[in-house]
Structures are given as C-alpha cells and as structure tokens.
Amino acid sequence: MEQLAKRNQWVCAIHPLVKLFLTVFYIVLAVSFSKYQLAGLLCMLVYPLFVFQLAELSFFGALKRLRIVLPLVCLVGIFNPFFDREIVMWAGPVGISGGVLSMLTLMLKAVFTVLASYLLIATTAMEELCHALSLLHVPKIFIVELMLIYRYLTVLLKEAGRVTDAYRLRAPGQKGIAFKAWGPLLGQLLLRSYDRAEGIYQSMCLRGFKGQFYSARKGGFRRADFVYLLAFTTVLSVLRFLPVAEIVGRLVL
C-alpha cells in the first residue's frame, strides 16, 4: 500500500484533504440510497471506475479486500428475500421482490464503500492522511499515536510471527496456542512492546520530540486539486440527485 501511495503519479499528488473529502462524500452518497434504489446506486460505480483508471490501479486486485466485509454483509442481507416477498418490479415475466432488490443494494453498497476506502489509501500515504487530519484540527495526540501505530504495525507483526513460529516448532501439529501458554506468550510480547515504547520515547526525545511530528509537505492547494474536487463533486451530485439511470433507460427502451 505504501509503495502504491508513494508512486510518482498525478492522482497520488492530489492534496490529501481533497481525496479524504471526496472519499467521505462518495461513501455518504452511496449509502444514502434507499434499499430499493438499485438503478441509482449502480450509477455510483462511475467514481471507482474512473479513479482506478486515472490512478492506474488494478480493479480486480482490490476486489480481494471484500473477503472480510462481504460475509458479514451477506449474512445480514441474505434474509431480506425471505422476509420481504412483495413483488416491486417486473423484468418481463419475472417478478422481482423487494427483498431481492434490497439484498443486491446492500451488497453493492458494501462493494462500493470498500473500493472507495481502498482508492484513498492506495493513492495517499499515511503521513499525507495525517497531514489532512491535522488540517482538520484533529488533536495532535491522536495524530502522533496514529502514525506510531502505523509505523510499528509491521515491526510488531513480524515479532508476533517469530513468536508463533518458535511456538509451532516446539509444538508441531498443534492448532493454535495451548491454554497454558496463553498468558506467558502474549504477556511476554506485551512487556517487550512496553519496553520498546520506552526506548522509542527516549530516542524521540534525543531527536527533539516535543509532542508532535512535523509534516514535510510543502505548498497548499493547487489548481489541479480544485479541478479534481469540483469535477468529482459535480459528477457525484448529478448521479445522486438526478435520475440519470431512468433518463438513459427511457431513451433506449
């Protein structure tokens, strides 16, 4: 993700605040469609399609992120066709019930919102995102903490991996960590992390840390940022507030 976000690419160079605003705006608009407004919601695919293309990202590569979200959403939506059986639409001779429609809408919303979040982090580095948050006056304590979590995430994940590997070598064929080892194993990892935090704090103090990190980003908003913001805000608003799908459909049918 970090490598993707730090590419020399013009979407990555767009101001992080613009991308953050557009992402939230898009998610709010997408989830604001009512449960039967499948046609309107389908049109919202325009944003991820275009941004994937503009940012030169793989659309299908991002779809694997859905493996976490979709099962839960499916679990919630799968019951809709059983409880809402009223036919609300006819596709020729086939009647489509409200439950089927609301289930499809729910799943599409899940896909679109996950794709929008992916587009944000695949084009915006964590420091940039934190810079955007600081422009929104999010307290410094939280921003510093967020950056540290992100920075040490991989370090501690590797350490946890080493600990579990060592355990597996001593207990071959065992699924997970045995009950007796729960406390010492995780407790040792916690204490090591605690001591690491102490060392990190001392190193930060030696480098002049006074409660906040400073962003290296220079310059404010450029013309390209305004154009990008205006273009997508307009397109998304039109797709949300005007019945574009209905108009195009009537012209064709």
Binding site: S34, R65, F83, E145, P243, G249
Partner: protein, 332 residues
Amino acid sequence: MHMADALVSPGVAGVMFACSGIAAGYSIYKVRLEQDQKKIPLMGIMGAFVFAAQMINFTIPGTGSSGHICGGMMLSAVLGPYAGFLTMIGVLLIQGLFFADGGLLALGCNVWNMAFYGCFVGALLIWRPMMRKGATKGRITLASVLGCVLTLQMGAFSVCVETFISGISELPFGAFLAAMQPIHLAIGLVEGLVTAAVLCFLSEARPEVLWGVNHEGEKEGRLSFKNTLIVLAVAAALTGGILALFASAYPDGLEWSMEKVAGTAELEAAGGVYESAAKIQETAAFLPDYALKGSESPIGTSISGIVGALLVVALCVACCFAFRFFRRKELQ
C-alpha cells in the same frame, strides 16, 4: 463485530460519530491532564501490539477450534481507560482503512461498540473497582471475564440497534438479537480468559504495568466492590427491561414467517415501536428518495432505470478502455 459502511445509514453514522467524538474529546482532555509525554509513544506501540496479538490464534479448550482477541479490555488495564480508548480509535481507523474491516462512515459506530464499552464500562466500572483492594489472580480473572463478556454483549446489542434503526435488514429485531448475543457471549468468554491469562502473568512479572491496581498503603477509592455490583445490577436490570420491551414488541423470525404464510397481520399490530423507528429513520435520512413523474415504480427503481444504470456503467468502462488505449499509444 466490525460494522461495514454499508450497514449504517448516514443519519445513524452521524449520531454515533458525535457520541464517539464526545468520548474522544473527553479522553484527550484527561490524557493531556496527565502531562505524561511518555504516554503517547506507549499508546502507539500498544496499538501496534493489539494488531500483533490479533494475529495469534489461541486454541479454545474442548472445541478443537481457535480464535483471536480484540484487545480493548487488555489495553485499558495497561494504559487506563482514556489512553486505551484513544488507542482503540487508532486501531479501528487503521483496520477500517487498510484491512477493510469496518469503514470510514461506520467508524463512529465501531468506536462506540468496541472501544467505548471496552474501555469506559470495562475499565472504569469493572476493572478499577475490583482492583481497589489489590490484584489477586481470582480478582483479575473475574474482572477480565466479566468485563469482556459484559462489554461484548453491550457492543453486540448496539450493533443490532444501529442496524435496525438504519433500516438495512428485513430481519426482525428479535431474531437479529437472538443471533448476535449468544455468539458474542462465547467470544466474550474466550476473550475474557485470554485477557485474564495475560493480566495474571503481568501482575506476577511486572505488577507496576497494570493500571488502577491499588498497591499496599494507598487510600481506598470512592466506589467499593459492593457499590459496583449494585451499579452493575441496576444496569443489567435496565438492559433486561429494554430487551424485554423489544422482545415483546417483535416476534422472532420463525413466528414472523409463519404469520406471513398464514396471512395474519400480526406484524402491523406491533406498530408502535416500528412507527417510531420509521419516523426516526425518516427524519434522520440524509437524502430523500427520488422518482420520475409517471415512473413505472413508486420505489424509484424500474427496469428502464436499471437498464439505464447499466448503460451508464458500460459507457464508463468504454471510456476507461479508450483512455487506457490512448495513453498506451502516447507512451509508445
């Protein structure tokens, strides 16, 4: 228990953002009061530790399966409720953005469901009063198991309420609740046992690391263990009352579908709470529905609409391909 963006309406998400924001603001104020610069790096590293701990699978005795922890209660027992709460927000934000577990819009809900209950209720109402007389293995285990079970139950209940008010699922509230609460009872129990094992280890290896533990000679606090039990009993009675209210208003899934098949209008009779919820949904709806004049369907979706939407998407795909074609040509 992470809620996805698709599971909440903008109105519910906004309200939950406001509630979580107030709790976060208060936590920042309390952490600043401590004036402990060392705490900020500690919060960051402990947040990363939660991710690492979630990677480790623990064997659940007698089942042959395994699970992992959420870590809210454990964080609070080390960092305290305020710093723990802020750390959990960071963890949930990164989970939502980088792991697609949760989401930006549902962040307020997730913070409330997992961090608020775990840190504020678990640490302030359960952990601290129980540790007033010092930490023993029994007290730590009881506080951990009780804290994790209770806070996960509250979180699961909130998930049901938020989804129900958002109007996302057709599943009756009672049936949804009946599915969510028992699962989270089991999860809470396992999480409580893992938390207890770790905190017992810490109390033996490095007791000064634990937050809120009364060391010898310290003055006992205002809220005694007995008073805590009374508070918890009242909270349980209130929660039970609310649950009973919903349970009596809505039949379970099986009854509901039976009535649907039999053709009775039982569901309409339980309209009081439903109508109120519908009114809340109506007023909280961020954007109203739309429909063309003379549209074939009053719900705003028709076959012509869907055909139109598919055409718009196809047009976009064609534009993207054309864009890519010309760019490649330009590069060559």
